[in-house]
């Protein structure tokens, strides 16, 4: 199950959706909005997605994780829009016959999602600054372009 939503993620329903008599283990991962990063206080976050490609990319993760690990059910939900402190930005639930596969699959999913799925996070700091997070790119003051 793949979901991209601007609503609160119902991670309870997500967890229950992967439970299965064939599974002996369920691992749920939640990404939540943290207040402090390297000592800098976050006020809120904005997530922007490229919706069509993000959904296609999450669906690929689901089929790829089934090839790499012995898993029973997989569910992934990512939120976009404005998130406040403590909100859940992403939820990944995996069930598997055995716990090692459930842990490994859950970890692979969140690691790979963060590398591949076209979603971006903009930090709105408590001091009023705002900054798109682009791993490997030096944050530069944004000059509004001329719109071509």
């Amino acid at each position: 199950m793949i979901e991209l939503t601007d609503q609160t993620i119902d991670f309870h329903a997500l967890t229950e959706s992967v439970c299965d008599h064939a599974a002996g283990a369920v691992v749920l991962f939640l990404g939540t909005v943290r207040e402090f990063t390297h000592g800098v206080q976050t006020s809120w976050l904005e997530y922007q997605a490229y919706p069509e490609m993000a959904r296609a990319s999450m669906a690929e993760l689901e089929s790829e994780v089934r090839q790499k690990f012995v898993v029973t059910n997989v569910a992934i939900s990512h939120r976009f829009g404005s998130l406040k402190l403590g909100d859940v930005s992403v939820a990944i639930a995996v069930s598997a016959p055995h716990r090692s596969q459930a842990f490994d699959a859950g970890r692979w999913l969140i690691d790979t999602l963060k590398e591949r799925v076209p979603i971006w996070k903009k930090e709105h700091f408590a001091d009023g600054r705002e900054e798109w997070q682009h791993p490997g790119v030096q944050p530069t003051p944004i000059e509004k372009g001329n719109g071509a």
Binding site: Y50, S89, L113, E115, W120, K122, W132, H134, K144, G145
Partner: protein
């Protein structure tokens, strides 16, 4: 034979996201290129059209029909193209 540039030209709408959307100031931009153009050609066309994207350009990723595309990939008129900085979801 004389060249027919109007028949050889291609206009590609490119969806923009995150910092590059802010730099350009638009959700999408139409880039002018030629038949047989590659992602690399679009990258140059973007820098020419919006010089402010030059500082980001080396880091910008391109997608064609919802898959990541390298600079050598050839673009067709029907393709859905997007350009964005490294992702930071999760």
């Amino acid at each position: 034979m004389s060249s027919l540039p109007q028949c050889n030209s291609l206009q590609i709408p490119v969806q923009l996201f995150a910092a590059v959307r802010e730099v350009v100031g638009l959700d999408s931009i139409v880039l002018e290129t030629h038949v047989g153009a590659t992602v690399g050609d679009l990258r140059k066309a973007m820098m020419a059209a919006v010089p402010a994207t030059r500082t980001l350009s080396g880091a910008l990723l391109w997608a064609v029909n919802n898959s990541y595309a390298g600079d050598s990939q050839v673009i067709a008129a029907v393709d859905s193209v997007a350009c964005f900085p490294p992702v930071s979801g999760g």
